[in-house]
Subunit: 347 residues, 3 copies
Amino acid sequence: MSDDRRFLGPARSLTLSAIIAAAGGAAAAVEERSFRGVAPLALAGPEEVSFCESRAYEAALRETRAGLVLVAAELASAVPAGSIAVSCRSPALAFGKVAALFHPRPAPDGSIHPSAVIHPEARIGEGTEIGPFVVIEAGAEIGRGCRIGAFSLIGRAVVLGDRCVIHSHCTVTHAVLGQGVVLHAGARIGQEGFGFATTEDGRFVTAPQLGSVRLGDGVEIGANSCVDRGSLGETVLGPGTRLDNLVQVGHNVRTGRNCVLVAQVGVSGSSTLGDFVMAGGQSGIAGHLKIGSKVRIGAQAGVMHDQPPGIEVLGSPAAPKKEVMRSMLVLKRLGMESRVVSKKNSE
Amino acid sequence: MSDDRRFLGPARSLTLSAIIAAAGGAAAAVEERSFRGVAPLALAGPEEVSFCESRAYEAALRETRAGLVLVAAELASAVPAGSIAVSCRSPALAFGKVAALFHPRPAPDGSIHPSAVIHPEARIGEGTEIGPFVVIEAGAEIGRGCRIGAFSLIGRAVVLGDRCVIHSHCTVTHAVLGQGVVLHAGARIGQEGFGFATTEDGRFVTAPQLGSVRLGDGVEIGANSCVDRGSLGETVLGPGTRLDNLVQVGHNVRTGRNCVLVAQVGVSGSSTLGDFVMAGGQSGIAGHLKIGSKVRIGAQAGVMHDQPPGIEVLGSPAAPKKEVMRSMLVLKRLGMESRVVSKKNSE
Amino acid sequence: MSDDRRFLGPARSLTLSAIIAAAGGAAAAVEERSFRGVAPLALAGPEEVSFCESRAYEAALRETRAGLVLVAAELASAVPAGSIAVSCRSPALAFGKVAALFHPRPAPDGSIHPSAVIHPEARIGEGTEIGPFVVIEAGAEIGRGCRIGAFSLIGRAVVLGDRCVIHSHCTVTHAVLGQGVVLHAGARIGQEGFGFATTEDGRFVTAPQLGSVRLGDGVEIGANSCVDRGSLGETVLGPGTRLDNLVQVGHNVRTGRNCVLVAQVGVSGSSTLGDFVMAGGQSGIAGHLKIGSKVRIGAQAGVMHDQPPGIEVLGSPAAPKKEVMRSMLVLKRLGMESRVVSKKNSE
């Protein structure tokens, strides 16, 4: 556990059966006991719950002093005698549920900070909590049970579904958000895209960016990430899609559901992604491309061409993993031959 | 058009002649008609104006139901019989002007939000609009007809020319901005650069960063982008230069006019760029380099050496496009030979 | 010097002996004189102090009109006759001290802006200055002599040591900061890390991120950079570690002291860095890696494997510098052979 429990709120006690129920798991012989929190395998004590995701952590599992461990069935036998083993299909998922039971997210309390500046023609749903210095402009419609953090700006006519969590310092303009959308601090949604024409005498003239952004249900955007509005249409992130921090999504991009863009990824304008596309950290996707569903893009890769569904690509320009591995083997072999030649030449 | 017109403001109606005049184009036989907006070729209806930038979009052009299409002269014959073709030298530029006519940017209204904290020794030009919770420090001089968005900070002695647009959440310190400069939300201008010396016992000591930032007329900075002030002199972005989102410009960098830095580009300290340099997304320029005018830097490239004017470079380390293409051909061929050898060896 | 002294505050006059004392240097024959500021070699006048870091700048040194130049001993003879040469072991360090003498950072003045929203259960140390619209939540403990800039949010139970400088627009939650920590504008400390599990039906469920961030004494974080809190434990940046702008540090990362992450670097979750690791601009470190002390990572490199202490790596995937240089030589030679072959073929 963090050396510092100061951020966790008051400690809770939960019974073994409550924990097993939350985990959706099974255990042999339930003798009622209490637990007081969660911890990693290496640090957990007899009153704490831990989990083991895979064999990769088996060593730590065998050494743990955790009172209860959530494990895949095949690892149950590796749980020390003093710990209760609870078998689950997905220990990580189960652990998340148990952790949430010990440390529930505070529900929005429906309070509106007196310093907030809310246009009389904005609509705020029941139970929504609004923090200090929030600005909500005319015509904005905010759903029920949302939380808007300090210094966030909800622009004119913006729509938020229910249960959205907008952390501090966010900008949300020209956007329609579904239910349960989460924006982390400093996220920028709906600003003008990067589009301009050049006059004959070389001046740049901004093309009016008249579109908007649509974020599907459950979309999550990381800290300081940016999603530009469409030039004429919508920039769309499909339901469940998640962006890490410092990610850039250009105007007119459309993604399907449950795409994952890791930190510092950039998607250029007008590219479309299918469902479940995974882009590794710092990778880039050029503009006007079609990326099929379930494509996996390696960290730092540079995708310059359309990609068929399911392919795994690496490198810059990105190529199928097999090809890239072959090229690297070739280079390596040449490097070795070259060393042999040099050696001969120096003899 | 965006499925959601809620962000566009009240609809306008414009006559055919007004549109042709704005576009600066020519059309055969002007029979007065009204139009109500703009839209892309695929979605436009008889009361909407669209444009076709090039042959790449000819298929969509032939199918459009737009009432009026702005086209290059050579594509006029491809415009369907039911649409009016208006020939222009640059359809994109013309379309921008027409779009701006339908959806004019609201002019700053000269209002100053009562929550703004403005130092009595700051000067605000006539017609400048200041939003909620803006902070303007002592000695700042803001031009006429500017707009400063919520939560932006204009620091001590900062100068803004006329017609600047500072969106929300910006930080502007140690900076002199020309006319018509645009900062998108979360832009950071004028903070300390990344400079420190190391003592004998290995501690870092920040070198005082005593310089400033100068942004020329018409410079535009994207959301969450950063421009550091000079260590002793100025960090300068020449007139018309544009930065996309999440771009980093280090201390003492100087650019000429109309440079374009696409999203997530980084320019290290003390490098100088000429005019019209174009850096593709996620590319990087190392420090203390001279990059000539009209250099084009590919996406994700890593420029490690000075570059003569007009060259196009790719890759990391960046090299002239021809060389890079050759290397890639060589690798490809070796990959194929390698496959042949492997095949033979397994026979 | 900056063409614009408007940001420097009132001019100061300092004596030669005060300057020599600050620089910790030595000069022949001290005849008392006054100086009025600092400037680069090319621009300095007789009343200004400059410095020459190395032979790379010898040409400028020989031409300077600076009244006093801080130099390494071996370059003292290159100082023009009209300038006073002061020998120092580290001219850059000495110059920093002299510059700070001319332009001291204003000390925090202990004022608390009336617009700040400070929870009654927060504790603010003596002499700490708090700017407009700052929000400080319950249980926060802020040390003495700190400065908190406009629009910064200090979250619940956060701890700041003495003499911290938090610039504007920062978010600090779930974090414990040591003494003298500096956060530049827009820094995001303590937000949730990027962690989620996938249900059987393909939904993403956020894993609760219950940890925190610990920033050691003297840590400095650049503008718009992000440091995520741990999932269960702490994300730790060791004393003296510095991040440039737009850097991402994922959850559970731990660094030793005096690490340097240049602009736009990304460190993925759960990687550990030793002391004095240097990561060049736009480089990336994959997750769950161990990077030894004094490792140097080239700009744009992609580190995919553990690295032993002291090694220098380049490229993506990153490899030891020697290997990379060899590969590039091989490719170059093949490119030349290929050109010879092409030439022959076309004859």
